[in-house]
Symmetry: C2
Subunit: 260 residues, 2 copies
């Protein structure tokens, strides 16, 4: 009789998102990228475990990048790769990896053709956007042409959401995902404190499922959404059914999903 | 003749914002608190220098908190202080400070009265929200009663934006601000790359003013906003005038402020 190996447990692949930019820290601009990147990565089995927002300061970028690229499988940065003096991300990444940086021939060709077509001058500032750390590979940018780049496990993208999003599509096939985190949501017009005890007991019985409780307030319509996250679809369904039954026991009709 | 001391340069007061919650990292919930807190603090002379989003994992909260509370003047956390099993922030903060945690008599009184009034049962889960690290002082919460707390230079607030915002008002008079960062914005329908060289020279001449360049795209209306930040109002005005003159030299009519 052949050995019956236990099915391999899908590995966990982790990521960190670094948002680089004074404008996010000053409150001037509200970040829209983290939720997009986290959702995108989650679909392909990569879990964002940490996110940081840091200023356009070289030393901070270098130190932070070296800390998180050692700790997580992947690092995704946004911001600081435009043509102006405050765009220092590419130089900081080169410094973090201890490599040089110079104009990348293929990136120069792409940008040169782009500016020839648009009739704008291909100034030295615009040429800065073709500078890549040595050993980096380009990330295509069909929207505004100036490429992002990958070096090691670090993916460097633009901060403008439309450009970042197309870069995610360009780089996605280089990523190797692990277990995809699935989720179920059950909502009901019930206070968190009412359901908390029973929910804690449910969590204790299902260690492989993360059960989160999120109150919502929409004028007079308030309640709680219970979100279950895990890799086993049928276990999630069982836990979701238990949560629904729990709400009914308190006289509350549960809704599968977010509140209406 | 009395000594003429040079005017004291206002000191820089720094802060870090810690967003605690799996739901932000999974992409399910889009953070709305960082921009609010950063703007609020900036008005009273406190500059957010870093922000982190971390999961509901005790060890991560403890280590992160101990790292950033040593590095910045103030730390503001949001999330994880509700009544359910996944609300572990208060315990993690106590652990980070190496102190015990127990039900705070005044917080118990406030919550007891609240639930008596609303007719809901004051369950052990709801009583959890009255647990404060030893040595902590309450942060009032007129919206939903369960208090936040301050311990050392760390302010622990709710994640629900409406509750976080009222807590900021409750705690603001405990903060000591330094120099208030002021800003000017000049926008124009000009490409970043067109203005980049001149802008770099302008930055080199004004080391005390941070000059940021932010492209915007709104359908066919695209351009660049130049944001100047610093503590000296009249220097900011001078730099803003120079930026406006610079745009006019390229045949672009500048708008003071964000693009229309």
């Amino acid at each position: 009789m052949a050995d019956q190996a236990a099915p391999a447990r899908p590995k966990t692949v982790t990521a960190c998102v670094l948002t680089i930019g004074d404008e996010i820290l000053s409150g001037r601009t509200r970040d829209a990228n983290l939720a997009y990147i986290a959702t995108y990565l989650n679909r392909i089995g990569i879990q964002v475990r940490e996110a940081r927002v840091i200023p356009d300061v070289e030393e901070v970028i270098v130190n932070t990048l070296n800390e998180v690229r050692a700790r997580y499988d992947y690092v995704f940065t946004t911001g600081g790769i435009g043509p102006t003096h405050d765009d220092i991300t590419a130089d900081a990444v080169a410094k973090a990896f201890g490599v040089g940086i110079s104009h990348h021939p293929e990136a120069m060709k792409i940008l040169e053709a782009h500016y020839r077509q648009t009739g704008a001058e291909f100034t030295p500032s615009r040429q800065r956007m073709a500078r890549l750390p040595h050993g980096a590979s380009m990330i295509d940018n069909p929207v505004s042409k100036a490429p992002g780049f990958q070096i090691g496990n670090v993916f460097v993208m633009a901060g403008v959401p439309a450009v970042m999003q197309v870069m995610m599509d360009s780089l996605a096939d280089r990523l190797e995902g692990g277990a995809t985190m699935l989720s179920r949501t059950v909502s009901g017009q019930i206070g968190e404190g009412t359901i908390a005890e029973k929910l804690g007991e449910l969590q204790a019985r299902h260690a492989d499922v993360g059960i989160g409780s999120y109150p919502y307030y929409r004028g007079r319509n308030f309640g709680t959404s219970i979100v279950m996250r895990g890799v086993d679809s049928s276990e999630l369904d069982r836990v979701a059914d238990e949560v629904a039954a729990l709400m009914r026991a308190f006289g509350v009709e549960p809704v599968m999903g977010d509140p209406a």
